[in-house]
Subunit: 127 residues, 2 copies
Amino acid sequence: MAPAPDSIRSTVENYVRSVAKGTTDEILALYAPGATVEDPVGTPVRTTDEELREFYSVLESLDQTGEVITVKIAGNTAAFLFRLVTHLGEQDIVMEVIDVMTFDDDARITGMKAYWNQEDMQTVPAG
Amino acid sequence: MAPAPDSIRSTVENYVRSVAKGTTDEILALYAPGATVEDPVGTPVRTTDEELREFYSVLESLDQTGEVITVKIAGNTAAFLFRLVTHLGEQDIVMEVIDVMTFDDDARITGMKAYWNQEDMQTVPAG
């Protein structure tokens, strides 16, 4: 049975908040065991806890702001547009991405695919 | 080899315009032979030309306006948020959806998955 849309929405909000402001452990706690990550789509799929930890740990020391712009839910899946701003002193790196996630019955993430390329990453004066 | 991002973007723009204003033939011309459609995600996948034709022909007689809000491209895939407004006299039905598409080398659609549920469809007074 698919989790309730509100549970999926809550995981998505927690995910973007944790990616921006949280620890690697907080991000990984949102994933189900055996989950896979393909970010961006077309690059090798990360399949182990170690690979996921390596991928997200890069973010931990960054000063970031995250915002979910829109979430579309269908059954046990969600596609969502979000913005991640990395603050680098005088400059911000603004990134807008669409992620697609699948969820288990407890609304834990079982798979994530991120759709973006370099054009979706822009450097702007700090706002 | 993945098609150029501009070619993918052009197919996406043509798709949304054709869904809103075009004929079923115009929509189907954007698909590669053997393409599949899952709309919304979680419902049975349409796999034959006849099934795709049946699915899109329903739209042909409707008075609609379409708008691509954002497109994220990764390799030979794209995820995009779009708005489709169906004009029914005094009322508009506003629908916002995220589609994920895969493309062949000629930027023809080989697969489409649509992420939305009933909550993404709203009836508002005609604008």
